[in-house]
């Protein structure tokens, strides 16, 4: 469980990136943090594994205050994948990249071998095992960064912009993986601008603006509310845009899923015909 109580954070240059954030993320939750550039999303999630410590207020992870423990201890439980994979990757081969953290956490050689193979297969990277991460495409490097964190199987997974550079199939795999994590009781926090991805997953959405949380609720409620979204520089998902325009015809507004949209349109047309 992650508890954030009235947290303020100031960078050394004086910029106040968080202005009194309070929230609770329970174990097993799937949360998407959204909001415009510079809203404080990445700053907030960096508090979840102790990379940043609050200037004021308290962050507790599983009951322990992050100021009273080390990043190393927190990382074992909370794996963090950065927005830009180049800030994270440094090894000569993809395999070494993935084994690095596993070795540091003291896993046995046999386990490391199994975990590497598992993570590479999961993310469609098996053919690049011996390749330098820097020879891979942007989207592939992003998946190597993700594989290196998944391999040590943390309880909480924090993904900063996981869908950047990913094609539709990779996104669908990521979505299925997150669902699988949840069924295992794990917590997944993503920071994302990808409204279509969030619309497909329908997680809890936390909307941020200028260092504060301005909305917190189910994806389908928040992503279909144009007034709330526009203040955070988010565009409605396409299906929601369509239903907003159809609302005067008596159709519901809070629709974000394509197949649900189909059912609603078919029923409404049927009704008109009668």
């Amino acid at each position: 469980m992650i508890e954030v109580e009235n947290v303020h954070f100031r960078y050394p240059n004086g910029v106040e990136a968080l202005k009194g954030v309070s929230l609770v993320i329970k174990n097993g939750e799937f949360v998407a943090i959204m909001g415009q550039n510079g809203a404080g999303k990445t700053t907030l999630v960096k508090h979840f594994n102790g990379l940043l410590k609050p200037s004021e207020g308290v962050v507790r992870v599983n009951g322990v205050e992050t100021t009273k423990t080390s990043v190393a201890a927190l990382s074992r439980n909370a794996g963090f994948v950065f927005q830009n994979p180049d800030h994270q990757l440094f090894s000569e081969t993809v395999e070494e990249e993935i084994s690095f953290a596993l070795k540091n956490f003291g896993f046995e050689a046999e386990t490391i071998e199994k975990r590497i193979t598992w993570a590479l297969n999961l993310l469609g990277l098996a053919q690049y095992r011996k390749t330098s991460p820097f020879l891979l495409s942007g989207g592939e490097r992003k998946r190597v960064a993700l594989a290196s964190v998944l391999a040590w199987n943390p309880e909480t997974l924090i993904l900063d912009e996981p869908t950047i550079g990913q094609d539709y199939q990779q996104k669908e795999k990521l979505r299925q993986f997150i669902v699988q994590m949840q069924t295992q009781g794990k917590t997944v926090v993503i920071v994302t601008h990808d409204v279509e991805f969030v619309a497909e997953c329908n997680p809890r959405v936390l909307l941020m603006k200028e260092g504060a949380v301005v909305a917190d609720g189910e994806g389908r409620e928040i992503l279909t509310d144009p007034e709330v979204l526009v203040q955070s520089s988010i565009v409605l998902p396409q299906i929601a845009q369509i239903f907003l325009k159809l609302a005067p015809l008596g159709l519901p507004k809070n629709v974000i899923d394509v197949y649900e949209a189909k059912e609603i349109v078919l029923k409404a047309l049927e009704k008109r015909r009668k």
């Binding site: 909001g35 415009q36 550039n37 510079g38 927005q83 830009n84 180049d86 020879l135 891979l136 495409s137 942007g138 989207g139 592939e140 998946r143 912009e161 950047i164 550079g165 990913q166 094609d167 539709y168 199939q169 990779q170 996104k171 601008h193 990808d194 409204v195 279509e196 619309a199 526009v230 955070s232 520089s233 988010i234 565009v235 998902p237 396409q238 299906i239 845009q241 369509i242 325009k245 159809l246 015809l249 394509v258 197949y259 949209a261 189909k262 349109v265 078919l266 409404a268 047309l269 008109r272 015909r273």
Partner: protein, 283 residues
Amino acid sequence: MAVIETKNLTYTYPGGTKPSINSVSIKVEKGEFVLITGPSGCGKTTLCRCFNGLIPHFYQGELKGEITVADMDTATHETHAMAKSVGLVFQNPENQLFALSIEKDVAFGLENLGMPREEMRERVDWALKLTDIYDLRERSPHEVSGGQQQRVAIAAVLAMQPEIIVLDEPTSFLDPLSAEKIFEVIHELNKKLGITVVLVEHRLDLTAKYADHIIIMDEGKVCFDGNPREILSTEETRLIGVGIPKATLLYHILQKEGVKLGDVTPLSSEELAKLLQEAFETK
């Protein structure tokens, strides 16, 4: 008139075991807005690097086949000679920015062209305002956010007003509303100034509506090339991992269920909403 033309273009990176692009033959007409998409690792970025001569001059490796960009053979014209005609916005803005201030970064290309100071001032301010970073102009490009860095990289290329602008996922770090505004600006420059635009994107929800021409790649090859409305109507595009716009997808699903919505495939929510409104009103 074609401003970019490739014939059987094949390229292998140094030390690579197989070509990253393989027998690519495409034509981009002057003034077109071309969208290049395809699964991650399909060769989109590699193809873009050929358009301004970064391949083969910077990346070396083995380039075969023919490529002409703005009447220049990229194999014999160096990257700096092409810079005036072709502007490239990289996927990762950090690879592109280097000056001490944002303003200087945007002015760099113009300084190299020897543009008079007054004119340069005007151009730089124009580009900074278009991309909404005028107020940041004296900051260092390395202390602003990833999204703002992308705006700087775009401004630097727009300032040059090249004949062709090539953008490789240029707004991936930007929030959706900002990304939409940037695409609107690029679309406007395409329409008003006739600048040819080549855009690499996965997010067709945001971009398909601007395109006159779409090229879909898979495993280094071109597998679809033509009109976006026709190509995004085919089932095959979805199978190779292209995320077609949700509005287009819903249109297909409804057509399959027997709902007649006309023969023109919609590419945006506005277009589909209009078709649905009409369907409701006629019933």
